[in-house]
């Protein structure tokens, strides 16, 4: 798969309809890269004219800002906004709720005003518009799926329904955890925790959350955030009995859609 790079579009004198903000996890983390590829495959399937910044993309600054390093955040924001404004970017889609939140809520007052969508909202729109179709009897039909709300998608931005609508399109049966939507329990990665050891306590947060997800009896834990994905995957792999095979799969909603597209292969 070739990657459509923004600078190449510009060299051709063309502009894409939407910029796919890949994010650092989506660019470098092996697990998150599979989500990036899934979302790119969906965009291609739906004939979305999109591009990525490639090497011109930088960390949005979310983790450094939340760790307290405002200087570094401002440096990242300034450079990213310069790049985005330089290309005249209007619409952005990203698979990372942290990038989504920063681009959408924190860049405008620094001079970066874009229509920013998380891929949950974008996928829902593509489904609603009929630009992507789920094939009959897809791989998740009838399977029990539980959805883990990302804090930066849910409480921070009020996006609770879009990812659930996307899962409904797969004909999966959705089993909610007790702590869901605005009561959703964090996976433990936010606020730059992803990049440090957890403070000492009785349990790990991802253990607590994964146990709750597994208790629903779901065979798929759906996530919409690369960091949640990592935390929950670690939780599943260290669950009791995991040595005899993982008790559930942790999948991003984009991977689930990509595996269920009409004309695709599971």
């Amino acid at each position: 798969m070739g990657i459509p790079i923004m600078s190449e579009w510009q060299a051709r004198g063309e502009a894409p309809d939407v910029l796919f903000w890949v994010g650092c996890a989506g660019s470098f983390d092996p697990r998150a890269r599979r989500v990036t590829k899934a979302l790119a495959a969906i965009l291609e399937h739906a004939d979305v004219r999109y591009a990525v910044l490639g090497r011109e993309e930088m960390c949005t600054g979310d983790p450094v800002r939340r760790a307290g390093n405002e200087f570094l955040f401002q440096m990242m924001a300034h450079q990213n906004i310069k790049t985005l404004n330089g290309y005249g970017v209007k619409r952005i889609v990203t698979a990372c709720p942290h990038c989504f939140n920063t681009l959408r809520n924190e860049y405008p007052e620094l001079g970066g005003d874009y229509e920013v969508m998380h891929h949950a909202e974008f996928l829902q729109r593509l489904l609603d518009e009929g630009r992507i179709r789920i094939r009959e009897g897809g791989p998740f039909r009838g399977r029990k799926v539980t959805y883990h709300d990302s804090c930066y998608l849910g409480r921070a931005n009020g996006v609770y329904e879009a990812p659930r609508r996307v899962l409904e399109a797969l004909d999966a049966s959705l089993a909610e955890m007790g702590r869901c939507r605005s009561r959703g329990l964090c996976c433990g990665a936010g606020g730059a925790q992803m990049f440090k050891e957890e403070e000492k306590g009785e349990r790990r947060i991802n253990r607590e959350r994964t146990d709750e997800a597994l208790a629903t009896g779901a065979s798929v834990i759906a996530a919409a955030c690369p960091f949640c994905n990592t935390m929950l995957t670690d939780g599943v792999k260290s669950a009791p009995g995991a040595d005899k095979g993982d008790p559930a799969e942790v999948l991003d909603i984009a991977e689930m859609i990509a595996a269920s597209l009409e004309g695709g292969h599971s």
Binding site: R55, Q74, H78, R104, E109, C151, L185
Partner: protein, 439 residues
């Protein structure tokens, strides 16, 4: 009645109101030690929030049982306080049941309503005492409340029970005396009231003089109790019954995920990276300190939040760090902020100015370990029924730690280095960003 009780009443009320006003102005002064805040939002949004959250208690209904119980006390206190107006006027004018002739047939109906609420308040206070002291509800058993906070909560509930009991006993005596045709009690017959009539059998053996003595005693203790409670309020977690309203009005209306900008840092970065653009950057007075080390470095809304907190612990019950046994408890962040602010305020009371006592909010009251346990998940903010943000305080203090002290866990320091050199939190970047399609 002679003039003496009226004078005594006026002096007592005047003293109570003066003491209350003095304490309120000290709290206001303490809150205004905080920095200016950019709160955003329009007046109509603020009004809506005031109506929905403070008056309508919408967040409370995330927990319907507690919400209904709380609503009884809330309605009881707001409505029964209408009765206090009559009591105060009676006390000053030397009258008895001033409103009875004015309201006519509506008066007994009104008092019946007050009595039903009073009985409801007593019942709910008993349930609340049981919830706090007998049932094992985690947010009430938590060590956050050890010592004074737990005693404070019980004092409030007991005081409310006593005040309501005095009110009902007073009415029971009053209506008995009316029935006996005694003095001014009989001047405005109101008939029996719905709840206090049930207490009358207990008082039936008493002489009219005895009943009069109990009625007067209850009347005086009831109003003295209310005035004492008025002055207890601003020294207690119970201040939320007043501050919930301004706190809901001034709530942060920006999207929950947005961290407040630091224009002074924005400008410095612009100077460093793009000197030509820097002149167009917004100019702001440079603060003496980045982030917050002590209460005066926080915003005034953080400080009002601290005085508005009634230590219910919904935040801590929802906090992922608290739930997994980390040291962080968002409720304790608010309690520590108020304790420190009171400490600073006491210094101003003593000397007339902010004194350097060698202590600060950071470390003397809130540890780095607590600040670093936060995942910024916004659960605490979402749960708070009165619009408090413990998260905002945590993030301001993290800013101080990193920007003023360079104090961060080693992994964060490495992450900062990576973001600075490879523009990603990991030691990888540049062209590698274009290789995800390969595997």
């Amino acid at each position: 009645m002679g003039l003496l009780p009226q004078i005594a009443f006026a002096l007592m009320t005047g003293l109570a109101v003066w003491l209350f006003a003095r304490r309120v102005s000290a709290i206001r002064r303490n809150i205004l030690l905080g920095r200016d805040e950019e709160l955003g939002g329009s007046r109509s949004e603020r009004l809506r929030n005031l109506l929905m959250q403070a008056l309508g208690q919408r967040r409370m209904f995330r927990n319907p049982l507690a919400a209904v119980l709380h609503l009884v006390i809330y309605a009881g206190f707001i409505i029964i306080n209408a009765e206090v107006l009559e009591i105060v006027l009676d006390g000053l004018l030397g009258t008895h049941r001033l409103f009875a002739p004015l309201l006519g047939a509506a008066y007994p109906v009104l008092i019946d309503g007050f009595e039903i609420l009073a009985a409801g308040v007593i019942a709910v206070c008993v349930v609340f005492l049981a919830r706090r002291n007998i049932l094992s509800i985690e947010r009430f058993r938590s060590s956050d409340l050890d010592g004074w906070p737990r005693r404070d909560a019980n004092i409030i509930l007991l005081a409310e029970i006593v005040l309501m009991a005095l009110f009902l006993t007073m009415n029971a005596c009053d209506t008995l005396l009316q029935a006996h045709g005694v003095g001014h009690y009989a001047d405005h017959p109101t008939g029996e009231f719905v709840v206090s009539s049930l207490l009358q059998p207990l008082l039936a053996g008493l002489s009219d003089d005895g009943l009069t003595a109990i009625e007067r005693l209850c009347w005086w203790l009831h109003i003295a109790g209310i005035l004492a409670f008025l002055n207890y309020l601003p020294r207690s977690k119970h201040l939320h019954i007043l501050l919930a309203f301004p706190n809901a009005w001034y709530v942060r209306l920006a999207p929950a995920g947005r961290m407040p900008n630091m224009p002074e840092v924005q400008r410095e970065v612009l100077y460093a990276l793009d000197p030509l653009l820097a002149s167009s950057a917004p100019v702001d007075a440079t603060p003496t300190r980045f982030g917050a080390r002590d209460v005066a470095d926080l915003g005034w809304k953080n400080l009002m939040d601290a005085y508005s907190c009634t230590e219910c612990g919904r935040c801590t019950a929802a906090c992922p760090a608290s739930q997994t046994g980390k040291k962080l408890s968002p409720r304790r962040i608010m309690m520590a902020t108020r304790d420190r602010l009171e400490e600073v305020g006491a210094g101003i009371d003593r000397t007339g100015a902010v004194v350097d006592d060698g202590r600060s909010l950071l470390r003397d009251h809130i540890s780095e370990e607590e600040l670093r346990a936060c995942t910024t998940c916004n659960a605490c903010v979402t749960e708070c029924p009165v619009g408090i943000s413990p998260l905002d305080i945590i993030l301001r203090m993290r800013r101080y730690l990193v920007m003023e002290e360079g104090s961060a866990p080693q992994e964060w320091t490495m992450m900062f280095g990576n973001v600075e050199s490879s523009f990603a939190p990991w030691k990888i970047g540049g062209e590698e960003r274009e290789t995800w399609a390969e595997g």
